[in-house]
């Protein structure tokens, strides 16, 4: 039985901690694959490094990881420099990372990815920035080495497709430390010329040989070019920054030449076709106008103008006839009205009354006598009958 002088957890942890402070663990370089990577809101990075058998927790504090030129991600194999220590609250040992280095992918690649992300974030690769190439450039600018295979390929293709296209070459170094500056200078010289389009490139090469085309300065110069730029870095699969930022990317210099100059025969055919369409359209138009003119000439009015008068005369006759008809019917109407008026008049005439046996009595002054007191005894009155009249002496009067 062990003597019972138990340690507190903290005491044990402190002893472990002390055991781990041996110099060999205070400055370690360890290689492993990143997993469970977390870039915490606090700015610290938490992750694990592992190999096939083991895993160690790691932390890289903000102050350290701000100097990283790349962002680690799960699956990356990295070399970490740092020290081993204990995180007391959890009873865990972990690696405190001072610096991280990529392993497996070279520094150049890392720098490339970083720069690419940066330029992309700035919008330099936006499709909206890309300009279209002229249909038929009058002068093509080529930025490349005057002695390279790229130039030969470009000139060969240009000549084959369109023998009349002028070329202005801007010589530049395409490899080596001075290449980026040389390319940028050529690009800037080209801005003041009358070239309609620029091809910038070189023949194929390894990633390292194409480094000049991954230069930030060159990428920015291409983006700022007033002249549309076609990149041709001679690599089918890998894209350079120049490719991303150019208005158009060709996989090889030959392909760039094909993009820049259309086949002369195709353009000639297009022009000829349009000319023919124009001629036949005009011919159709003239024929149609002629047909229309013919129709007009054969129209009754022009062909037999007397028809026009005949028609009008006929109309006049019709009008005349209907006018007569109207007049007649008006007369009949009036006659009917007259007869009615006469009938009415007759019904009001006193003659009819007399015919029914009544008579009209008038005094000597011709006044109609309606009351007995209008006449005196011994006066003469006159009676008008239906036929004839009577003079009567008044012998008696009743009121």
């Amino acid at each position: 039985m062990v003597a019972l002088h138990p340690l507190s957890v903290s005491e044990l942890t402190n002893q472990i901690k002390a055991a781990l402070t041996q110099p060999a663990l205070q400055s370690v370089a360890v290689q492993g694959e990143v997993s469970n990577f977390l870039h915490h809101r606090s700015g610290h990075m938490y992750f694990s490094l592992k190999d096939t058998h083991s895993r160690i927790k790691a932390v890289m504090f903000r102050g350290r990881n701000q100097r990283l030129s790349f962002t680690p991600k799960n699956g990356d194999t990295l070399i970490a420099l740092g020290s081993v220590g204990v995180y007391e609250p959890n009873g865990e040992y972990q690696l405190y990372v001072d610096m991280l280095f990529p392993q497996g992918i070279g520094d150049l690649h890392l720098a490339f990815e970083d720069l690419k992300a940066k330029l992309e974030a700035e919008g330099l690769f936006d499709p909206g920035r890309k300009r279209s190439l002229p249909l038929l450039p009058r002068r093509v600018g080529v930025i490349t080495s005057p002695s390279g295979a790229a130039l030969r390929d470009i000139l060969h293709v240009l000549r084959r497709r369109h023998p009349g296209v002028n070329v202005l070459l801007f010589p530049a170094l395409v490899q080596g430390e001075e290449a980026p500056e040389s390319l940028v200078r050529a690009l800037s010289l080209a801005q003041n010329t009358d070239v309609d389009v620029l091809i910038i490139g070189r023949g194929g090469g390894s990633f390292e040989e194409l480094a000049a085309f991954n230069d930030e300065g060159l990428a920015r110069a291409i983006a700022q070019s007033d002249i549309p730029v076609v990149s041709a870095c001679g690599h089918e699969t890998d894209f350079t920054l120049a490719d991303f930022v150019a208005d158009c990317r060709a996989p090889t210099p030959s392909a760039a030449a094909e993009l820049v100059v259309p086949l002369r025969e195709e353009l000639l055919a297009a022009v000829t076709s349009m000319r023919n369409r124009m001629v036949s359209a005009l011919r159709r138009r003239i024929e149609s106008e002629r047909r229309y003119l013919g129709q007009l000439q054969h129209s009754p009015v022009l062909a037999r103008p007397e028809h026009m008068f005949r028609q009008r005369r006929q109309r006049l006759d019709e009008l005349w006839t209907s006018l007569g008809r109207f007049q007649r019917s008006a007369l009949v109407l009036r006659r009917g009205k007259l007869a009615a008026a006469v009938g009415k008049l007759e019904s009001l005439s006193p003659l009819n009354t007399l015919a029914r046996g009544y008579s009209v009595c008038q005094n000597e002054r011709g006044e109609i006598v309606r009351q007995a007191k209008q006449v005196s005894l011994g006066e003469l009155v006159y009676l008008t009958l239906q036929e004839g009249s009577l003079s009567c002496l008044v012998e008696e009067r009743k009121p």
Binding site: P134, L135, L136, R138, P146, S147, A149, L151, R152, L155, L158, R159, H162, P163, G164, V165, N166, V167, L168, L169, F170, P171, L189, A190, N192, T193, R264, L267, L268, A270, V271, T272, M274, R275, R277, M278, A281, L282, R284, R285, I286, S288, E289
Partner: protein
């Protein structure tokens, strides 16, 4: 017309062809368009017929020389 670019000439020619094919212009207007179209087609052909291509090299700002291509 010499300042006119090939592309612009071709585009205008296309426009004229369409307009004539639609027949929406007056006849005399159409004839004027036709005349312009013939000129444009001739211009385009001339542009395409340029036989002698110049290949030059810019030695320095404003200094341009003919460039001899070394055939490999």
């Amino acid at each position: 017309m010499s300042e006119l670019k090939f592309e612009a000439a071709l585009a205008r020619l296309e426009e004229i062809v369409r307009s004539l094919e639609q027949g929406d212009a007056e006849l005399d207007e159409g004839l004027v368009l036709f005349e312009e179209g013939v000129k444009l087609a001739r211009f385009c052909n001339e542009q395409l017929d340029q036989a002698e291509a110049k290949i030059e090299i810019m030695i320095d700002q404003g200094l341009i020389e003919p460039f001899e291509v070394k055939e490999s």
